[in-house]
Symmetry: C2
Subunit: 199 residues, 2 copies
């Protein structure tokens, strides 16, 4: 039964639906852990439709990684902004938000880092690098507003904590990782603010 019965024909909506459904499956099973045929069956779309919208499996992967990177970055940035003006509170909010994510049963680590770790395609690695850039911008901004002596340095150190906490939460699965990372981040922030010129 092509074009089921009362479905709304809208390429944009179809593309978005594929992206959303494929994101969940590819995140859970891994990029190479599910073939295009099974993927199409799982998300309820024909191969022709998928290929018309994304051209290639890699094209789908890149599109979904790009969308996911933007979504997650904005999610973190909004959590920080909602925490008020104090950079300490903003940093704490970032790690609290991450901590909630870690406790989601569907949590499997950072999708971009996972993808770059297995898929040695340049486009994927570029998306991952840009994703880390987004995180770095957020964290460096907090470091600046906190009056750190060397905001770019502190930003990168906080980035390591973010990614490290994500890896540890994914593969060492002990509870409380978010909390522990937050304490470490705040300790680094305090130390850097004490060393540098306070505001």
């Amino acid at each position: 039964m092509p074009v089921p019965k009362g479905s709304t024909i809208d390429p944009e909506r179809t593309r978005a639906a594929i992206l959303k459904a494929a994101t969940a499956v590819l995140y859970e099973r891994g990029l190479d852990g599910v073939g295009v045929a099974e993927l199409c069956a799982l998300i309820g779309v024909s191969k022709e439709t998928l290929y018309r919208h994304f051209g290639t499996k890699d094209g789908l992967v890149e599109a979904m990684l790009r969308a996911r990177s933007e979504r997650v970055s904005r999610w973190l940035a909004e959590a920080a902004a909602a925490a008020g003006d104090d950079p300490h509170d903003q940093l704490a909010a970032v790690f609290d938000t991450l901590g909630e994510w870690y406790e989601d049963p569907a949590f499997r680590g950072c999708a971009m880092v996972n993808a770059a770790a297995q898929h040695h395609v340049e486009a994927v690695r570029a998306v991952t690098a840009r994703h880390l850039d987004r995180y770095l911008d957020l964290l460096t901004g907090i470091a600046e507003r906190a009056g750190a002596a060397d905001p770019p340095l502190l930003g990168r150190q906080l980035l390591m904590l973010v990614e490290g906490a994500t890896v540890v939460a994914a593969h060492h699965g002990t509870a409380g990782t978010g909390e522990q990372a937050r304490q470490a981040a705040l300790a680094l922030l305090s130390a850097a603010a004490r060393t540098g010129g306070g505001d």
Copy 2:
């Protein structure tokens, strides 16, 4: 020409040679990035020999991850031990050693974490978890000897820094990652020692 001409028939040595050569290829190309046929051609061994020694591609993967985890963990522990008795020096040595690794052109991140990120097989995930345990033991020991108030907590925070630095070095490729991580680790150690009862 089976069994070339003057080769020494020694299954143990053959197995070790396969393991060593396969480790390099699988690390560079990714576990799913090279098939068994190509892998055998690259490391100069027949498929039958490989399968007799490891039974399965997954068997080879597990064996090589186990060996690599032990080797790398011992390497780090020895670097720490060689730095003397001061836990600060030991921690600095750990990150200096990591920093050297990051600058190796063949560096592609932590092989165990990469494997667990793509290969959702229980055995692989177990090897990765055990690998992180090894790291955690080393770091918690340093935290204890430094008189931290909560050595297990500090150990896990340092573990996040180690893994985070490795991820950032692999995917955000800026120089100086090891140095920056070392500064952060020492700052955390100092803060924890100041808070807790120093020896």
